[in-house]
């Protein structure tokens, strides 16, 4: 089995963290976009009901997706590796 502290193992771990953080940033970016549109609609009084209703449904979906991916990442790459 490959040594967990070898340079290549450390590089792999770093890249895995970058990949995970990249995914989380993508999800946060999309959520920020929803919030921006919602805030603009409320500010302009431009159908705020739709502008609130749709992101209220969509944001939890994105949070759930990010949670699932992070759960797998933690379970396999962080805790799983330790075990």
């Amino acid at each position: 089995m490959e040594n967990l502290h070898s340079p290549s193992a450390q590089l792999i771990r770093k890249l895995q963290w970058i990949w995970m953080i990249g995914f989380i940033l993508l999800v946060l970016g999309i959520i920020t976009w929803f919030i921006h549109l919602m805030r603009t609609a409320i500010w302009l009084g431009d159908v705020p009901s739709a502008a609130i209703g749709i992101p209220v449904v969509a944001i939890p979906i994105f949070l759930a997706l990010a949670s699932v991916v992070f759960y797998v990442f933690w379970g396999l790459a962080v805790r799983g590796r330790g075990q």
Binding site: I12, P55, A64, Y71, G75, L76, G80
Partner: protein, 444 residues
């Protein structure tokens, strides 16, 4: 003695380990169409949308037809795969990966149609910065972004054990596979985490997939245009999407079965089950089409009737009746009796359905815009070589993406096949016993 585990792995890893001349010929052939699409796009970018057949009042033509068609195809994967996983249908094992890949790839192509339709792609920034949730187009952008993220996640998670096999067995791209494998070693704890995550994703992805095509239909049905303003458009579009999705999945299965020698995995029984599903969807599609057109006809609202007759016997009759032929009569003829030549019959039905469902999208989008409620002069839309090129290029790009995927990842899930052989058989036996009444003691 031959190690069967390794023998299966060898067969399924062969397309990644070895590349024959057929691959390069296929890439070259697809590149010709992609080049046609690229030239068409550059011409459109330089001269504007005037080089297309689009005009007033037909401002949506091939591009929006293709958008709805491709998004529909995307339902092949995630939805079918998630339903089969949740219902623990054991025959799903060699199919799910192929289905999930279709979804992920075709969603990019579908979303790309909107960029092409914009004429000026920089205008997408207006949607990001100043989008208005009053518009169903923005509902689309929201639901498609959720579906794309969910589909990519749902494709990636079940691939992790296979990526670990690639990391351990393949000599190339070790760093790439090691990063994506997330340190998978196949321990019980890791398996538990992965199974739980896949189960959660199955539950999330089904409503998201249904919402996507419902929202695509809302782009039409929220308007007051004749033959668009319909309450059943949501389920009608979802049914059509699953219908075309299964057909696309079958075609992909048959191509890769033949090309990569996957006959031992994709057996006639898989095609029989999918064929039966296709038959049910064909009848369901006909039911929705009949209900939709009968309601319009019975109401006999003058503006509606103009569009209705334009489809039935007017300038769009060849497309309309070709759609009925491809989506109902050919599937019925091919799929009612699947005794012999199952694969050939299912392939013929699937190809007809793909054509028929594209025509259905065309028949929904174009006639209504050609005969709008507002007093525009009636016009007939004719696509130019630019739109044809974009369509051909998009199809070729999808095929190329799919092909490249099969050269990097196994197209059939290795670990799920192994799990089926080692645990699935026993689990199914126990499950069947649990359905049956217990034996009564004392009887012979």
């Amino acid at each position: 003695m031959v190690d069967h585990k390794d023998a299966h792995e060898d067969i399924l890893l062969a397309p990644i380990a070895h590349t024959g001349p057929g691959f390069y010929w296929t890439v070259a052939g697809l590149s010709v169409f992609i080049l046609w699409g690229a030239i068409a796009y550059l011409v459109q970018f330089y001269y504007g949308l005037g080089v297309t057949g689009l005009m007033q009042p037909v401002s949506w033509g091939f591009y929006v037809t293709n958008f709805v068609f491709f998004i529909g195809i995307s339902h092949a994967g995630t939805l079918i795969s998630a339903i089969l996983r949740l219902s623990r249908a054991e025959w799903r094992r060699p199919i799910t990966r192929m289905a999930e890949v279709i979804t992920a790839m075709v969603l990019f192509i579908g979303a790309g149609q909107i960029l092409v339709d914009l004429g000026r792609p920089d205008r997408i920034l207006n949607v990001i910065l100043h989008g208005r949730y009053q518009s169903p187009l923005l509902w689309d952008a929201t639901s498609i972004s959720a579906y794309l993220t969910a589909s990519l996640t749902y494709l990636y998670l079940p691939m992790i054990p296979d990526i670990a096999i690639l990391r351990d067995r393949l000599g190339k791209w070790k760093l790439f596979y090691s990063v994506l494998a997330l340190g998978w070693t196949g321990t019980e704890a890791q398996q538990r985490v992965l199974n739980r995550a896949i189960a959660i994703m199955c539950v999330i992805v089904i409503p998201v997939a249904i919402s996507v095509h419902s929202v695509v239909s809302f782009v039409f049905s929220m308007t007051l245009q004749p033959m668009w303003h319909s309450t059943i458009f949501g389920p009608y579009f979802v049914v059509g999407a699953i219908f075309s999705g299964i057909a696309a999945l079958i075609v992909a299965m048959i191509i890769f079965r033949k090309t990569y020698g996957l006959e031992p995995y994709l057996k006639p029984v898989h095609f029989r089950y999918l064929g039966q599903l296709l038959l049910v969807m064909s009848l369901l599609w006909f039911y929705f089409t009949f209900a939709e057109y009968l309601t319009g006809y019975y109401g006999a609202e003058p503006e509606e009737m103009k569009v209705f007759w334009a489809k039935f016997s007017g300038p769009f009759w060849p497309y309309f009746w070709a759609m009925v032929l491809c989506n109902l009569f050919i599937p019925l003829a091919c799929l009612v009796r699947l005794g012999r030549h199952t694969v050939g019959k299912v392939l013929a039905a699937s190809l007809a359905i793909i054509v028929g469902m594209w025509l259905e999208r065309f028949i929904i989008v174009i006639p209504t815009l050609s005969f709008p409620r507002l007093p525009f002069p009636h016009t007939v839309y004719t696509p130019t070589w630019v739109e044809m090129g974009e369509f051909a290029g998009s199809l070729a790009l999808f095929a190329l993406f799919y092909l490249l995927f099969t050269k990097v990842f196994p197209i059939i899930s290795i670990w799920e096949i192994r799990e089926g052989r080692e645990e699935g058989v026993k689990e199914v036996e126990e499950r069947i016993k649990s359905y049956l009444p217990d034996e009564i003691k004392g009887t012979a």
